[in-house]
Symmetry: C2
Subunit: 407 residues, 2 copies
């Protein structure tokens, strides 16, 4: 266990994941949607858990997202979640919606709980209906006492690594755990960058507070990453809190609410960075830190614009300290600022100071850019606004993965 912070003490759990919190079980299996790899995952809580979700803003919101929202709307609780790969069940019309409801019902029946305690999530090709027979057999084989594959493995598509994390800290003197797992961009039939995140905690949290906490934290973690600028129809992050830690229910009134938020941010930020660093074809994680903006919102827009620039991403791939592209991206972000107060650093190397190019050691810059993780620091001298955003480089493999034919 690594101590992440001094006060409050939030420690990470080795190999922690979405099943680390008390009272949660998770698993995965291979049901033949993919050739060999696990392709169906599930999460189960021993008791109904207070639930909150954030969903894609895409007008074409996929069927499972609609059905999960229907479930949570009933009593703000979920007890189980089913995740399938291969078909995104998006743009599939009335039949897709009906199929999502049927798979929800199958899992509810298998677990002996009511339908609306089940959430569903999908990732895969848009416009393809769910392979219902395979999913039916898969659900029938779910065994809460053990599973053939880890959940975090069963939800992957073209991800090259599993992405999971958990932290623990104390609330009311009782140990509380928050754990999560997610998938990033790409599919075995590459189609779109679908992001799914699942976070569980054994903390007791009031429903509205949970929803607010998730929205706040997602805005500065998952919503700060980009791989290719394409917002999926299936993006969803679910947060389940089952109260098994037996703390006093948390809300903004609880003195230790900031501790819970800090823990939740640690998990969501960690997962978000895993996704950015494992973007399709990526070889490097790019972190952009903007400070001195007129406000935080302005800083966020600028940070996201830099990390989303194709020219910045290709320059990082080529280890080229072509800083002009970075200031260029700042300049077209839509935010107003005085170019003469802009300073830019690559790690700790100053490239541009108060609007004027600075002589720098090209080799030193190149060596830094050859690392796996790159930090770009831009300061504006306009105010106290700051923000961080994460992304990855743009490589031949991104084009390869996404230019290949679906079949």
């Amino acid at each position: 266990m690594e101590k992440l912070d001094q006060k409050p003490t939030i420690t990470s759990i080795e190999n922690g994941s979405v099943g680390s919190a008390k009272g949660f079980k998770t698993g995965g299996m291979h049901i033949g949607m993919r050739t060999k790899k696990p392709d169906l995952g599930w999460i189960y809580s021993e008791v109904p858990a207070t639930a909150a979700g954030v969903y894609t803003t895409n007008v074409f919101q996929a069927a499972p997202l609609q059905v999960t929202q229907e479930s949570i709307a009933e009593e703000k609780k979920l007890q189980a979640v089913l995740v399938n790969t291969v078909s995104a069940n998006s743009c599939t019309g009335q039949q897709g919606l009906e199929n999502a409801r049927v798979t929800r019902q199958w899992l509810a029946q298998h677990l002996g709980i009511t339908d609306h305690l089940v959430g569903v999530a999908s990732t895969g090709v848009i416009g393809m209906q769910l392979p219902m027979e395979k999913i039916k057999k898969g659900i029938a084989a779910i065994d809460l006492s053990g599973s053939e594959a880890p959940f975090e493995e069963a939800i992957l598509t073209t991800d090259t690594k599993t992405k999971h994390l958990a932290v623990t800290f104390e609330i009311d003197g009782k140990p509380v755990t928050i754990g999560g797992a997610c998938k990033g961009s790409g599919m075995i039939h590459p189609n779109m960058a679908t992001m799914l995140g699942f976070v569980t905690t054994d903390a007791a949290v009031a429903p509205d507070a949970l929803k607010q906490a998730l929205k706040t934290i997602v805005d500065k973690t998952f919503n700060r990453i980009t791989v290719d600028g394409d917002t999926s129809t299936n993006d969803m992050v679910l947060l389940l809190a089952n109260g098994q830690a037996e703390n006093q229910p948390l809300s903004a009134q609880h003195p230790e609410w900031p501790v819970f938020l800090k823990g939740l941010e640690a998990v969501c930020q960690g997962l978000a960075k895993f996704i950015a660093g494992d973007g399709e074809g990526a070889t490097k994680l790019i972190e952009v830190q903007v400070t001195g903006a007129k406000d935080n919102q302005s800083a966020e827009v600028i940070a996201k614009t830099i990390v989303g620039s194709s020219l910045v991403k290709t320059a990082v791939f080529g280890s080229d300290a072509n800083w002009g592209r970075i200031v260029c991206a700042m300049g077209y972000s839509g935010e107003a600022f005085d170019p003469n107060h802009v300073t830019l650093k690559l790690g700790d190397l100053i490239l541009f100071e108060n609007g004027v190019p600075t002589p720098f050691d090209e080799q030193q810059a190149k060596n830094y850019l050859d690392e796996d993780s790159i930090v770009i620091k831009a300061s504006l001298g306009e105010g106290n606004g700051s923000a961080v955003a994460w992304g990855c480089d743009l490589t031949y493999d991104y084009v390869k993965i996404n230019a290949s034919y679906r079949s």
Copy 2:
């Protein structure tokens, strides 16, 4: 000459360019900024021409754009324009601004005209000062009676083709010509997608009308293209009208004003499509036609979002009719619409109708996508708004060009 339209009769001029209109001379030469290729271009009008410009919205507006605006501000006229490659003279501080003014002065002296009748434009690496000695020698060698290279060739960087066009039509019963040349994305030291466009006409046009016409037409031509979403610090389109056609000065009050606008649109749209189709690494021109949007502005946002999507661009490169990516991009455009009324076509092949996937012949779609020029048609059933946007596919060569080291 090809007849472009019946009424008004606008005909294109074979091999027409920015020097086609009466009283304009243009040229280019090699002054040693690039290894071998022509790298300095000039435009000259026998008499001062009414001038209008549109300039990048990037906060870091390059020095030559500032100096050209200073020139035009004096009496809304230009008589000559100088264009250098290799250095963008952007983010070069006070020295860069001073250098731009000095090159302006050199050309004015060489031609025997006042400074403020000269406009300057640059394209190249950001943060690099102009090679003043080379430019000085180049200007001294400018000969209005002939030149060693065509203007449209001398302004190119990594462009693979020259981009030029001219049309002719009648105003007040007198022949009028509008011609243009431009450069697109990429440089010999690839750095950013700099777009420069130069349009000349022998029509007599009132200054304010000229400015308004340029803004209106650029909004639906040059501002509808994207190669990689990165807005340069150096983008500029200049329009010079020298009145040598001897028509009555044009403005909105002139009965044939719409004819002039149509001619100007034909030139600007043609040049814009040349740039999109010759984007860095591009193998195909993509045209997106959006109809049935709630208004034209909404249609424009949706069309630009589709043509800017990395996933749509890679799918077109791979000739993959992965239509889910197109509707996904529409969905995250930020525009509200009912997904159930959306219909999508690839050329004339229907892929998605009223929100539901349509079975289609994959091979037929693939054959269509193998062509050089692809048309994507999206209709929304919300209203009468329509717009067209142009872009190109995203290829290995885009990554290759932009990942390579500057030096």
